[in-house]
């Protein structure tokens, strides 16, 4: 277990990279992509807490993302509340829902849990689609205002980048702290064997619900940020497909690795850009990449790349030795 000091240093370096990145990309297209990388990183890290640490499968996490987006979006666009206020309302409401649902849902395990979260995600998606009077239905909700402080509006990619990444960095710091704390160890114990953990005195049931709620809270905040950056939301962005994308980000990045979630999120956000060249074949290539990643790098990028590098390095050294 890396020491807290090392973890903080890593975090500091990462945060520095995030802060100076716009100097290179501002005004360009990549800036827009980095905004979405920020949101997806936040979501992936939140899901990782549940999936990687506590080992609980969730195939419906897009629902919390969507609840944050719609609650904040509707209250600001239709009712005229301030986006900062609705951020608090939306995240609180979503957390309460997650807390209440968490108790029965997290009693389930394995595929039953997967199915329950899947079902929950679909129910929420249908609710977004059907409550046309509130959410404007499938055509989407327009006119969502940007965040603003006084007369300063967050209306450009660079400004939204800083706003979003501020929240994302807080999320990462929070997760790092959590991972290295008693709670983090308890979560890992639950992951390995819930019964053994309970026997050791861990209140597994309650702890699972708490982490579920935290994960939902963070996801809903990401939803608010998304809504006020795009100024438009539609139910299609919060469905089953996106839930699967999130799980893929976490797994591809590396379960249980916080920075892995960043890599997974970045990769899957950037991948479509790279896949554009394939035109219609892009879906095929996406599926293939998923399969290959799991087959050859089941531990995710964070573990797979060092593994491959480690395997190649001795071979490299050997040839150099021969030529010398």
């Amino acid at each position: 277990m890396p020491s807290m000091k090392k973890e903080l240093l890593t975090f500091f370096l990462f945060a520095m990279a995030v802060v100076i990145a716009p100097l290179f990309f501002s005004g360009g297209y990549l800036m827009n992509v980095l905004v979405f990388v920020g949101i997806n990183t936040m979501l992936a890290v939140a899901l990782n807490l549940l999936l990687g640490f506590a080992g609980q499968i969730s195939l419906g996490h897009a629902a919390f993302f969507g609840l944050g987006a719609y609650i904040s979006g509707v209250l600001t666009a239709t009712c005229g509340y301030s986006p900062w206020l609705t951020l608090i309302i939306a995240s609180t409401a979503t957390s309460v829902l997650a807390f209440v649902l968490g108790f029965p849902i997290l009693k389930l395990k394995g595929h039953y849990l997967a199915m329950a979260t899947l079902g929950f995600g679909i129910i929420v998606y249908i609710a977004f689609n059907e409550t046309v009077d509130i959410t404007a239905g499938p055509s989407g909700l327009t006119g969502i205002p940007n965040y603003s402080i006084g007369s300063f509006q967050f209306d450009s990619d660079t400004k939204n980048y800083y706003l979003i990444w501020a929240f994302t960095l807080v999320t990462i710091l929070l997760s790092v702290n959590l991972a290295n704390s008693r709670i983090g160890r308890a979560l890992r114990a639950i992951h390995d064997s819930e019964t053994a953990a309970r026997v050791m005195g861990v209140n597994a049931g309650f702890l699972k619900v708490q982490i579920f709620t935290l994960s939902a809270l963070i996801s809903s905040v990401a939803g608010c940020l998304y809504a006020h950056t795009m100024t438009f939301i539609s139910p299609a962005s919060f469905g089953f497909n996106f839930s699967i994308e999130l799980v893929t980000m976490v797994v591809v990045g590396g379960l249980g690795s916080i920075y892995g979630s960043f890599f997974g999120a970045a990769l899957l956000t950037l991948l479509p850009e790279f896949l554009r060249t394939f035109q219609d074949f892009d879906i095929l290539v996406y599926g293939l990449i998923l399969i290959l990643m799991i087959m050859f790098m089941p531990g995710g990028i964070v573990r797979g790349i060092p593994e491959i590098a480690g395997a190649l390095l001795p071979a490299f050294k050997r040839t150099r030795g021969e030529n010398a």
Binding site: I57, I105, M115, I126, T248, Y286, G287, P298
Partner: protein, 294 residues
């Protein structure tokens, strides 16, 4: 038309949709019971059944019966190839990795279908007869009877296979305990292959018999797969009558929900019922509670 015949119509429509869900659910249950894997690509085999039948019938232009046979064979081959290439070589077969790889597989197969056959919807003719049959004010089509009949047949064959044949019993043994099964000489790897082959052929059959009514296109697999999975869960992942009843219940609830409550929310109703069952009786309605070794 009075209320009673309305209800009867909902019931009949629901049962025929439910029969399809049952077949798909059985596919899930069979693989799960032999390997512990939930094959998220199951829905795509259903799609392949319909699409391949259309392909062989209308593009290659072979007679109907031959087209169906070829469709089942090709789907089964796809299932076997999928198992060989994607599932077997897995180094760390955790729950999650399997979920993701089968999802990746389903995306890949769907993408392939889209490229080869395009995005259009296609029809295939009904098996025999197209005049609606009326029953006390409610109607069903002859194709529905075919669906019931074939589903029933498949279930009986299934039961016979798993309970009375050596391979079937061997597969059930793998489900109970893989290590014990291999210790008594069962080739576990071969059983896994068999279960994928059986599931993909059943999925294909489900797709084929439904397609004359529902039409077929490259993306019908997603929702059907989900509903089939629901059916299996409601039925307790049993390889027999439990899943069948699960499918029927799901179909009828959907139909009643759409007719009596709200058509927009009918899918939500189905999933809410699912959640309630999972909360209250997660082993499904038809299985005794499980005990788990820790």
């Amino acid at each position: 038309m009075n209320f009673a015949s309305q209800i009867l119509q909902y019931l009949l429509s629901g049962l025929s949709t439910g029969a399809i869900y049952s077949l798909i659910g059985l596919g899930f249950a069979i693989i799960f019971n032999s390997t512990g894997i939930i094959n998220f690509a199951q829905g795509e085999f259903v799609m392949l059944g319909g699409m391949l039948t259309y392909f062989f019938l209308s593009v290659v232009k072979v007679p109907f019966a031959a087209a169906m046979l070829l469709a089942v064979i090709t789907s089964t081959a796809t299932g076997v190839i999928f198992e060989r290439l994607a599932i077997r070589p897995l180094k760390q077969p955790t729950h999650l990795n399997l979920v993701i790889i089968t999802i990746g597989g389903s995306i890949f197969i769907r993408g392939l279908a889209m490229i080869v056959w395009g995005k259009d919807t296609h029809t295939i003719p009904t098996f025999y007869g197209s005049a609606p049959i009326t029953l006390e004010g409610a109607t069903i089509l002859p194709q529905h009877l075919w669906i019931f009949g074939i589903t029933f047949l498949v279930i009986i064959i299934n039961k016979l296979f798993f309970f009375y044949s050596i391979s079937g019993k061997a597969m059930r043994a793998c489900a109970y305990n893989r290590n014990a099964a291999s210790l008594v000489g069962i080739d576990v790897k071969r059983m896994v292959l068999f279960s994928f082959a059986i599931s993909s052929s059943m999925g294909a059959i489900a797709g084929m018999i439904a397609a004359p009514l529902t039409m077929t296109s490259y993306d019908v697999g997603i929702m059907l797969g989900l509903k089939g999975f629901c059916a299996a869960i409601i039925g307790g992942m049993s390889g027999g009558i439990g899943t069948v009843l699960g499918g029927m219940i799901l179909g009828v609830l959907e139909s009643m929900g759409a007719g009596l409550i709200s058509s927009g929310y009918k899918d939500a109703i189905a999933f809410i019922i699912l959640l309630l069952i999972l909360f209250v009786r997660p082993q499904g309605l038809f299985r005794k509670a499980e005990t788990e070794r820790v």
